[in-house]
């Protein structure tokens, strides 16, 4: 692709809807995700950053402080901090305070492992800090199947501690899967029980997610269930603008309904690499590093990759679809990691174009990195189901390869 001749400043219309303006990019991101570490006490089957082991190149405390200083200068008003499990970084609580003291609000995602009653009381005493506890099943069996044994109890204990400490409006964050989509009402009840707000996001085939996507992503009829549920409850539920591909069912869901990658959002990973979006940790979407000359601001404002993402996009294979204006072709990361062209339909296109595209020849890109633990450990989920082995799609080469008695029918009459 040719990006070298991309102009530094786009011819940008002075008027137009906000969404049109956002497509040309902003001077600083609205919402920045910052993963502080690849280390994690869990090993969720669908982890979008393939986390597990700490990376020895992870930013030091001082380097993280310089990034926060820069975010303050750029007036990035809040960051979504994640990981890995960010709270197991020894300097996590220090960095949290440092950010808040520098007018950078923090919302951090956690599996709850460090949210003790004492920490919960501290969090309740701060302003500008939001806590998001991850839970992918409203019951322990559904959750622990993907997040690992014990993770349900850990998350609920954290929510309990936060509620007990008087922390108002924590977020209960759920990745919607084939197994938990029937539990949406139960998730809402759980959130209500702890005075929390439910947040639903889309399962992406990013990181280890690609390994389980075929098993966990929503079936076509489940997408409709989710859409109807969001239409009925959407005003009280957060989605991180995750489901704009569902807009092609008809009415748009609340939110921007646009892919913000490199335009209004981006990701800083634990080693300081800047990617177009939190779901696109791959060399193809790497824009630069915060330690480079000019720091994060230069990467955000001038990287050739981000310049390119801010150019007007064509619908490609979707251009002739009457729903293109509502779904905008769906999620870039979902397409990329399933080996689909970026200017074609989303793999979960609700008009069915995704299934057609998936049926064509495609190559799933090899991951650029993997911080998964090399040896399985106690709390790792094991995605095994007991059942009958599926019938082979094609007959074996010879009948005998299947059974030494193939074709032999004992003569019962003669017995």
């Amino acid at each position: 692709m040719t990006v070298l001749d991309a102009p530094d400043v786009h011819q940008r219309p002075a008027t137009g809807s906000l969404v049109e303006q956002f497509e040309f990019g902003l001077d600083a991101p609205i919402c920045l995700t910052w993963e502080l570490t690849y280390a994690c006490n869990l090993a969720c089957a669908h982890c979008l950053s393939s986390s597990g082991r700490r990376d020895p190149r992870e930013l030091t405390t001082a380097q993280c402080e310089r990034v926060i200083d820069e975010l303050q200068r750029m007036q990035v008003f809040y960051v979504n901090v994640g990981g890995g499990e960010p709270t197991i970084r020894p300097d996590f609580w220090h960095l949290l305070e440092y950010a808040v003291d520098h007018q950078v609000g923090v919302k951090f995602s956690t599996n709850g492992v460090r949210i003790s009653p004492e920490r919960a009381r501290y969090l309740a005493s701060t302003d500008y800090v939001d806590v998001q506890v991850s839970l992918d099943g409203a019951t322990a069996d559904v959750n622990d199947y993907v997040r690992g044994p014990g993770s349900y109890d850990t998350a609920l204990t954290a929510l309990e501690n936060l509620a007990e400490a008087g922390f108002a409006d924590a977020k209960l964050s759920v990745v919607v899967t084939r197994h938990n989509v029937a539990q949406l009402d139960e998730f809402k009840e759980l959130a209500d029980r702890y005075g929390a707000t439910l947040r639903l996001t889309r399962l992406r085939p990013s990181g280890r997610g690609v390994d389980v996507w075929d098993e966990l992503h929503l079936l076509p009829e489940q997408q409709r269930v989710l859409y109807d549920w969001l239409m009925a409850h959407g005003d009280n539920v957060l989605t991180g603008d995750s489901f704009f591909h569902l807009a092609a069912f008809g009415e748009s869901l609340p939110g921007l309904n646009l892919c913000g990658a490199g335009r209004v959002v981006c990701l800083i990973d634990p080693v300081g690499d800047v990617y177009a979006c939190p779901f696109a940790i791959h060399d193809s979407f790497l824009a630069g590093n915060v330690l480079d000359d000019g720091g994060f601001q230069r990467v955000w404002q001038h990287s050739p990759l981000f310049q390119q993402l801010r150019e007007p996009q064509t619908g490609g294979a979707c251009a002739s679809c009457s729903f293109y204006d509502t779904c905008r072709g769906g999620c870039m990361a979902a397409k990329f990691f399933t080996g689909l062209p970026l200017d074609g339909p989303d793999p979960e296109c609700v008009q069915g174009h995704g299934e057609t595209a998936l049926a064509h020849e495609r190559t799933v890109p090899a991951p650029s990195q993997d911080h998964s633990r090399r040896t399985p450990e106690r709390r790792q989920p094991v995605l095994v189901q007991i059942g009958r082995r599926p019938e082979p799609a094609e007959p074996p080469v010879t009948a005998c390869a299947q059974s030494p008695l193939a074709g032999f029918t004992p003569d019962r009459d003669g017995a």
């Binding site: 906000l18 303006q21 007036q75």
Partner: protein, 99 residues
């Protein structure tokens, strides 16, 4: 204009102390650190009005100074009332009002 709108023209207002304005090509992004609400000011003139409210005797003179044509004042006042509801701007105590 409604009576409330007309009244606002003569009142003194200011940007809320919890709000930061971030310039953007389309106008500005206003962030309220207290209620964490993000609001988009979609016209540079609107940004100028909001930013300079505290420097002017009343809303009318802020609109004048920002070069907003009088025909557009009702629309601007409606927008300002929306910002007031979100606590982005606050009424200012003036000596006249206090007297």
């Amino acid at each position: 204009m409604t009576a409330a709108s007309t009244a606002m023209l003569g009142q003194a207002w200011r940007l809320s102390p919890s709000v930061a304005l971030r310039p953007e090509p389309f106008g500005a992004l206003a962030y309220h650190f207290g209620n964490r609400r993000l609001t988009f000011l979609k016209r540079p003139e609107m940004v100028e009005v909001v930013r300079s409210l505290g420097d002017h005797r009343d809303v009318r003179s802020a609109l004048n100074a920002a070069g907003v044509p009088e025909a557009q004042w009702p629309a601007y006042v409606t927008a300002l009332q929306g910002l007031a509801d979100a606590d982005l701007i606050r009424p200012r105590e003036t000596t006249e009002a206090a007297a």
